[in-house]
């Protein structure tokens, strides 16, 4: 295997001169980055700098207007937490995880759902509809959904939003356990929180 091929095999995400426009509004301009396998990229920037757009591009929820974006792996390898929880409001936490676990072909989805709900402090509310949850509980469920299928690439858009200290602590522990094994791209307004885990940083202007 050549040096170039070896490097390519280790890469998980590569963006080059990425640009995204919504109509006449340019949201992203000339963004380039590389995240190697097991890397932990922290994306920061002011409100409106394009963090959410960049992460949606990486997740495949939007396509770049210009530039090259390569993501090694397929949808099965991706776990995504966005600004919205990506779950059904009128289903319970268990029903949501059962549905998404089925779609992600998670063989032991019941055990894994239970384990994640327990870990994120939602076990007692597992049979309540999501519409009755607080914002922080919804965010915890969104994290459970993203981790359900044990993804190799985790894309997290401001995952600490709405979490209380307890929830943020659980997420800190999860991220620390995943760092190095799982490739993580995380946007935040509080980079100091994940500074110890970060292997790369990208500041959007």
């Amino acid at each position: 295997m050549t040096g170039v091929a070896t490097a390519a095999a280790r890469l998980v995400v590569r963006g080059e001169s990425l640009e995204k426009r919504y109509g006449r509004k340019r949201v992203l301009r000339g963004v380039s980055f590389v995240v190697p396998r097991g890397g932990f990229l922290v994306v920061t920037g002011a409100n409106g700098a394009g963090k959410t757009t960049l992460l949606r591009l990486v997740a495949g929820l939007a396509a770049p207007t210009r530039g090259v974006l390569e993501v090694w792996g397929d949808r099965r390898d991706l776990g995504f937490v966005g600004h919205e929880p990506l779950v059904y409001q009128e289903l319970t936490a268990l029903e949501n995880l059962e549905l998404f676990g089925r779609l992600y072909r998670v063989a032991d989805r019941r055990e894994r759902s239970g384990m994640l709900l327990e870990r994120f402090g939602l076990w007692d509310a597992r049979s309540d509809r999501v519409s009755t949850y607080s914002r922080g509980m919804v965010q915890r469920l969104a994290l459970c959904r993203a981790l359900l299928h044990d993804p190799a690439l985790l894309v997290l858009d401001e995952p600490f939003t709405a979490l209380d200290e307890d929830g943020a602590g659980v997420l800190d522990t999860e991220l620390a356990a995943l760092a190095g094994e799982c490739t993580v791209i995380l946007s935040t307004h509080d980079p100091a929180r994940v500074d110890a885990l970060a292997t790369d940083r990208l500041v959007l202007a």
């Binding site: 997740a59 495949g60 929820l61 939007a62 396509a63 397929d74 949808r75 099965r76 991706l78 995504f80 966005g82 600004h83 919205e84 929880p85 990506l86 779950v87 059904y88 409001q89 009128e90 289903l91 029903e95 549905l99 998404f100 089925r102 779609l103 992600y104 072909r105 509809r129 999501v130 919804v138 959904r145």
Partner: protein, 216 residues
């Protein structure tokens, strides 16, 4: 499990989810039932006595198409709330399964409305024979197949309440022609063939294009 079995199990899981949501919220089916029934009652009093059955069948189809539109307008509402559609799009299942699951769920709602509408129509206007019922079944499949696709397109836009009827009603015209023809024409069988062909062509088109409709 084979790919086909997995696909079928995804479709069933997605359709079952919609039925469960409807059982819980009850915000689509009761509206459809009330609408179709009250429309037929209004038509009953609005239509002059002695009007031909042909005209009555036309009114039945107006009621059915607008009842379907009512259901389709709400079809993707659960996916809009909380960004659940993005969750489905990210899942590694075949994206056409999302469309098929939704089509089946809407078809169940529409069939329930028709189970009320057809006896009411027979009571108020004219008897409904088997060919007419077959016409309703085939046209309903077409309505749900095309309607679910168009409702997904409309759901992503700001003026969805206006866009859905604008997209759906022109494409529903052949179904109305086929449905009315099956109900009143002596050559009802040929209208059934027409409806079957419409279903086949548009279901394949919707199945093949759904992925491009829901991804940016």
């Amino acid at each position: 499990m084979s790919a086909l079995t997995l696909y079928a199990s995804d479709v069933v899981a997605l359709a079952r989810k919609d039925l469960r949501l409807e059982l819980r919220a009850r915000d689509t089916l009761p509206a459809m039932l009330l609408f179709v029934l009250s429309t037929l009652v209004v038509f009953h009093f609005a239509l002059p006595t002695g009007t031909a059955d042909d005209a009555a069948f036309g009114l039945l189809w107006i009621a059915l198409v607008f009842t379907a539109l009512l259901g389709l307008a709400r079809a993707w509402a659960p996916e809009r709330e909380g960004g659940a559609l993005d969750g489905l799009v990210l899942a590694p299942c075949d994206r056409s399964a999302i469309w098929l699951g939704k089509t089946l769920a809407v078809l169940v709602f529409l069939t329930a409305a028709e189970l009320v509408a057809l006896p009411a129509f027979a009571l108020f206007f004219a008897p409904v024979d088997l060919v007419a019922v077959a016409g309703v079944v085939l046209a309903s499949i077409g309505i749900c197949a095309v309607g679910s696709l168009l409702a997904a397109m409309a759901a992503a836009s700001r003026g969805r309440e206006v866009i859905l009827p604008l997209l759906f009603l022109p494409l529903a015209i052949p179904l109305v022609v086929g449905g009315v023809g099956a109900g009143i024409s002596p050559q009802g069988a040929s209208y059934l063939t027409f409806l079957g062909l419409y279903d086949l062509v548009f279901a394949i088109l919707a199945w093949a294009t759904f992925e491009y409709v829901i991804t940016e």
